[in-house]
């Protein structure tokens, strides 16, 4: 999107091309899938 100076979105971080690539990189995301699931399982186990 176009970001104009002094607009509300002028003050927010936006992802770089590398970050956007990694968000859709299947190999990296498979690793993150395992990692996030483990994180969630820890939170779930602490909550029961």
């Amino acid at each position: 999107m176009k970001i104009n100076p002094y607009d509300q979105n002028d003050y927010t971080p936006v992802p770089s091309k590398f970050t956007l690539f990694m968000r859709k990189c299947v190999i990296w995301q498979f690793i993150r899938f395992i990692a996030i699931n483990l994180k969630m399982l820890v939170v779930v186990s602490k909550s029961h």
């Binding site: 509300q8 003050y11 927010t12 299947v26 996030i36 399982l41 779930v44 029961h48």
Partner: protein
């Protein structure tokens, strides 16, 4: 033989009644009373609301599932609670009114030994003039029927964009005291994704409107995460996503009136504003479902066991106190009514002691702050905890609740996904621990930052798909359902 009556079969009620039925066996009776004939996996209503799933994909008929395990099911709505019985009935009982086809309007008295109120919320569209799909000008994704309607309306807007018209899309909260910002947040990005796929993104001006003080509050006072070498506010994480997707935002807003194609709202500074729209999905505020309670002599004791918002009072500390004095000790642990020890409330139906987010009022006295979320994972965990206590009371004669869980010692995992394709969607995956910040244990940020996280990517999208199938499998009581955590 003891009889447990569970009012409501949403996430919390369904969890409680199915586990109780499993643990108590055929010597005791578990009765579930719900006005709905179907169970709805509500998180996936977001996909129904953009036309990527149908109602059938997110629901199933309750009767065959309950019949399979011998659980007594009454398709009816609870009307009143009589915790001391009445002059003609010595046992405590509730009155119910059938909604089942062929028996509509028939009333019945249902005695109980233990009662769980898991009725969930009333979608209080009436709190804002002109709000809602039935008699108002906005759509909703709170039920699968609402979401189906929303998908049709969205498609109409997309067709207009294809014809060259610019459309104003407004998504968010329809009142200053709404909860469920997460649903509005997720729907925003699904709508943006659909419009992009339709090739008409340049014709849509999408705006998010919220009662949050800052984006990322989500009714839990916001959260902090470790990211990029910094401890960062969830505000930054959330605003970044809005900027990336080209969505503008309005925060600290109380929508007070909706007309055809126009909302009126007040902001926390007291100013009044208007915003035009072509398509608007605004979440309503929640209230209790309007159950009444009566004493043995027939006197109205509704105010004794219910809070003014219609939610059931439990073992929380309801003493009014300033935000600075709030603590996790205020939050309930057993969900037992303090007057009637055989009545419990789970999920959205229990009255929280206060907000989690800091209370805010405009100079005009209008409260503009999110109310506490009690949906999803906390709902299921609370339902199961209460079920464990009632099991101990029935089978082992426990006189006090044996199991406890507090939202101050409970975490939550949330996934907000955009798109549905396995390689095209992305999702924000969030974990937080605990839900209610504990500033005594975690003085800096109120939460354990090792277990509070957020990231965006395909992985979260896969998790959302997995959860959809996993929780429908669990709710249908299929093989291994008891092993799947809430």
């Amino acid at each position: 033989m003891a009889r447990v009556v569970v009012m409501g079969a949403g996430v919390s009620g369904h969890t409680a009644c199915t586990f109780l039925n499993d643990w108590l066996g055929s010597e005791h009776e578990v009765v579930v009373v719900t006005p709905n004939s179907q169970w709805n996996w509500i998180p996936s209503n977001i996909w129904v609301g953009v036309g990527r799933m149908s109602s059938e994909d997110v629901t199933f008929d309750l009767k065959p599932v309950y019949d399979k395990v011998g659980l007594t099911y009454k398709q009816a709505k609870a009307v009143s609670i009589h915790p001391e019985g009445s002059e003609g009935e010595s046992s405590p009982y509730i009155t119910i009114e059938y909604t089942e086809s062929g028996k509509e309007g028939t009333t019945e008295v249902l005695t109980y030994d233990y009662l769980i109120n898991a009725t969930g919320p009333k979608l209080n569209f009436a709190a804002t003039e002109g709000l809602g799909p039935d008699s108002g000008h906005t759509v909703s994704v709170c039920t699968h029927d609402h979401a189906t309607h929303a998908a049709h309306k969205l498609q109409e807007s997309i067709e207009k964009m294809r014809a060259g018209e610019t459309q104003e899309i407004l998504i968010g909260t329809g009142h200053g005291m709404c909860t469920c910002q997460g649903a509005a947040f997720e729907y925003t990005f699904n709508v943006e994704h659909e419009i992009t796929l339709a090739g008409v993104r340049d014709k849509a001006n999408i705006t998010y409107i919220s009662n949050e003080y800052e984006l990322g509050d989500f009714g839990v006072g916001g959260m902090h995460i470790k990211r990029g070498g910094y401890i960062t506010s969830g505000k930054v994480f959330t605003e970044s996503l809005f900027t990336e997707r080209g969505v503008k935002w309005i925060k600290r807003a109380h929508v007070n009136k909706v007309e055809a194609k126009k909302v009126h709202f007040e902001t926390l500074d007291g100013n009044q504003h208007e915003k035009e729209f072509d398509f608007a999905m605004l979440i309503p505020p929640f209230s209790g479902v309007g159950l009444k309670a009566f004493g043995k002599d027939g006197s109205d004791i509704t105010d004794t066991i219910f809070a003014p918002n219609g939610f059931l009072k439990v073992d929380a500390d309801y003493t009014p106190k300033p935000y600075e004095e709030w603590s996790i000790e205020d939050w309930p642990q057993t969900y037992q009514n303090p007057i009637y020890g055989n009545i419990f409330a789970t999920g959205i139906a229990f009255a929280p002691p206060h907000l989690i987010s800091k209370p805010m009022k405009s100079p005009n006295g209008t409260p503009i702050n999110p109310t506490p979320p009690r949906t999803g994972m906390p709902s299921g965990i609370i339902g199961k905890t209460v079920a464990k206590t009632i099991k101990e009371m029935i089978l082992n004669g426990a006189t006090e609740p044996t199991h406890k869980v507090s939202m101050g010692e409970m975490g939550a995992a949330c996934v907000a996904s955009a798109g549905k394709g396995m390689l095209s969607g992305t999702a924000a995956s969030l974990t937080m621990y605990p839900v209610v910040p504990d500033y005594k244990k975690y003085p800096d940020y109120g939460r354990d930052l090792d277990h509070t996280s957020g990231e965006i990517g395909l992985a979260g999208h896969w998790i959302k798909h997995t959860l959809h199938h996993l929780f429908l499998h669990k709710a249908k009581l299929k093989a291994g359902w008891t092993l799947i955590p809430e």
